[in-house]
Amino acid sequence: MAISNTQALGKSPKPGAFRFKLPAEARIFMVLLGVALIFELLGWIFVGQSFIANKERLIVMILQVSVIGIIAVGVTQIIIMGGIDLSSGSVVALTAMVSASLAQTSDFARAVFPTLTDLPVIAPLAAGLLVGLVCGLINGTVIAKTAIPPFIATLGVMVTARGMAKWYTQGEPISMLSDNYAAIGAGINPVIIFLVTALVFHIILSYTRYGKYTYAIGANRAAARVAGINVNRHLILVYTVAGLLSGLAGVVTSARAVSGQAGMGMMYELDAIAAAVIGGTSLNGGLGKITGTVIGTLILGTMTSGFTFLRIDAYYQEIVKGIIIVVAVVADQYRQRNRRS
């Protein structure tokens, strides 16, 4: 069958006067700039210095949200696919514990595994990623093979993984980690890891079949199946990828803190979801961009460091953050509706 040989029956009309539409990311970027400018202004008024023109502050700002950003790259894909993942924060804790326990030096008498000290750095790294991957695999398999909705399935993994993180050392923190391991989280390495991850998945989502299928499933799952996509397999794959990224986030977290603690990553799942949603990913599925999520993450970071800069109480920070998230979701709904009229 050669359609191209068929004579074209007519040209599709191309009316001129195409109204220029800003891409969604551009609008989110404006929001980021707006937030930064507000802090700049308040900075001059209340603190008497510039908020933006301070390299250290900018680096710290990105550093503190890098881990959230790494998680958000995975969570964005899940939300685009029409799902949700509540387990990421707990997975960070569990991975942090497991990988830290394999990164201890022999100088320490009370190591978790006294026979497994001074391992090459690849060991804790691989173990951490594996733990994340397995958690994601469990999420994906339960969601694909049963009728349990993602919210509940990942809630189960969230509680279980947190419990396992505590059980792992009976709540004891793990310390005395090797320098090589600590190097993973040192300096601006977390930022680099975050940006590289984001870039890689931006490319994957835009230019590979994996990406196209992710959007299609989120846009219309039944139609995706009829179009020949193995929906269940793809669900498992995407949840696994997100788990892997949570695992990576756990490794970075423990390396940066040079310790593993069962309380790590608390509520990170919500920050990651917030970053994605603020960045324009629709909770209805089928819509979203990694670039948007990166900007969303930076908006969260700017707010946190802005409040700190203005010496505003942490409590207020959370209140404002909550409001911003709701506003972002409302804005999404509004956009969806507006498109139709």
């Binding site: 590979t208 196209k212 299928y213 020949g228 193995n230 819509l287």
Partner: protein
């Protein structure tokens, strides 16, 4: 102005004295509506008389649905005057329109699948008991009364998800009628109905006309126009071409007004050499849905499938394609027995399946036309080192939408913004791109205008000529009769006959379809 208060029995509500026949219900003038990149309507006028059926015709993307959405408060026009009962009005929402006595049945179905039929019909108007809670018994009773009046036989408590697409359409119609509004807009209501239900719908429409209501009726089917409409307004590319009394018009004149040129052949069937058996189905059964379906299909052959609501036509197609795998029976492709447990495996065997409901199982509404069209060919040659070869795909989709005449400023536009008929063309394009050996089409020309329809028929014949085996389900008897080499007729989940082209007539098919 919801005149149908729950406590008022329907019979009295629906039999109010007719309004003076010549009274103008709706009078719009100089309406303009633009979307980014397209002017959907430009200086359009339209008037609707009470007690008449006013048909709207025009090619896909002519602006019919857009105008109706303006009348029903979904869109606000950029320019123009809208008079209702002679008073100028600016509607703010569909709800506002309903309260002003304008109800609309949209081109795509809008029911909530996991709610009952009754809940769907009376949503926002549920009868309450004295505790202020919903009185379900009364609601079912009201639904039964409504259905009795419209002669619809459906269980008010059934979930919409369990209904066939045509039954859903009947529920939509009943819901619109239940508002007892002065103006009822129907956007291609019959595209999902079989002849039998079309006749039923027409009885309802005539009853409403008797009651002095104004009905706007969009259709692409010429015979319906002459059967039901009093007046017709024709649109082309966002412009109003003319409004005529139907008696003064001939078939050809309408087409000329619509497309601005002649269309000679309606079903350009070409007889092509029939090859080997491509598909052989024996005793195929899906428990509780259809039983013991057997037929064979050869390369180059077009097998039409006819039947009424609930005859199981679409279910057989779904099972062949692995959407809902068979409970028993055998499928052979090119002589080899195969197990088809998912659409994916069906595609690996060279099958393609255009589904009946483009909104539910066809379109990815939030994605672009391009992404919708290419989704089933993201493999093989179109992948290079794991990356999608976007340029090659772009070129393929560009060519395909040229062939199918998809009307859009560019392929990056969201499919949601296309007119219904153009969405259908994109989905046809999706499956043609897969180069199928066995092509299953469920209502292929649903919502497609006369001109494009003839072209799609030509295309199907051309594919058959290249050895593709085609199964074509259609509710339009002329289409089935005109295109098929053989026609399989189903009734209540069983095959009641397979008729050769030479022996098939409207009557013989209808008799078999009635069981």
């Amino acid at each position: 102005m919801l005149s149908l208060a729950p406590e008022k029995p329907l019979t009295t509500a629906l039999s109010q004295p007719p309004v003076a026949a010549q009274q103008l219900l709706i009078d719009v003038q100089g309406v303009r509506k633009a979307f980014p990149g397209v002017v959907a309507l430009d200086d359009v006028s339209f008037r609707l008389r009470a007690g008449s059926v006013h048909a709207l015709m025009g090619e896909n993307g002519a602006g019919k649905s857009t105008l109706m959405k303006i009348l029903a408060g979904v869109y606000t026009p950029d320019q123009g005057v809208y008079r209702l009962h002679g008073r100028e009005i600016a509607l703010t929402s569909p709800l506002d329109a309903l309260e002003n006595g304008i109800a609309m049945i949209h081109q795509e179905l809008n029911l909530m699948p996991f709610m009952s039929i009754a809940e769907n019909i009376w949503i926002r108007r549920e009868p309450l008991n004295r505790f202020g809670l919903i009185d379900h018994a009364r609601m079912y009773q009201m639904t039964r009364e409504l259905f009795a009046q419209l002669s619809i036989e459906l269980d008010p408590q059934a979930k919409v998800a369990s209904l066939s697409i045509s039954s859903r359409q009947m529920v939509e119609i009943a819901r619109a009628v239940s508002y007892n509004s002065d103006v009822l807009i129907m956007d291609e209501p019959t595209s999902a109905l079989t002849e039998h239900e079309v006749a039923h719908l027409f009885r309802i429409v005539r009853m409403l006309r008797e009651q002095g209501k104004g009905i706007i009726y969009i259709t692409h089917k010429m015979n319906e126009l002459f059967e039901i409409a009093d007046e017709v307004s024709v649109f082309r590319d966002g412009h109003f071409i003319g409004c005529k009394q139907v008696e003064q018009l001939s078939h050809d004149e309408v087409i000329r007004m619509m497309v601005g040129r002649e269309i000679t052949e309606m079903f350009p069937k070409t007889i092509v050499p029939i090859g080997e058996v491509a598909l052989e189905v024996s005793h195929l059964t899906l428990d509780g849905v259809f039983h013991d379906v057997s037929f064979s299909l050869r390369q180059g052959e077009i097998l039409g499938v006819a039947g009424l609501i609930g005859s199981g036509r679409s279910n057989v197609a779904e099972t062949l394609f692995g959407v809902s795998p068979a409970s028993s029976g055998q499928i052979r492709i090119n002589g080899q027995p195969v197990t088809i447990d998912s659409p994916r495996t069906a595609m690996q065997h060279g099958m393609a399946f255009l589904t009946e409901d483009r909104k539910d199982t066809g379109c990815f509404l939030s994605l672009s036309i391009q992404e919708n069209m290419q989704i089933s060919v993201l493999g093989g040659d179109n992948l290079q080192a794991g990356f999608v070869r976007q340029q090659a795909l772009d070129a393929m989709c560009e060519a395909m939408s040229g062939t199918l005449r998809v009307k859009t400023p560019n392929l990056d536009e969201r499919i949601e913004n296309l007119s219904g008929g153009n969405q259908q063309k994109v989905l046809i394009g999706r499956w043609l791109l897969t180069n199928p050996k066995i092509l299953i089409l469920d209502e292929p020309t649903r919502g497609i205008d006369v001109g494009a329809k003839a072209e799609i028929h030509k295309l199907i014949c051309k594919l058959a000529g290249q050895g593709v085996a085609v199964i074509m389900i259609s509710s339009e008897l002329p289409e089935v009769l005109g295109m098929s080499d053989r026609i399989m007729v189903m009734h209540e989940g069983r095959v009641t006959g397979i008729v050769d082209r030479a022996d098939a007539t409207q009557v013989s098919i209808m008799t078999l379809a009635a069981g």
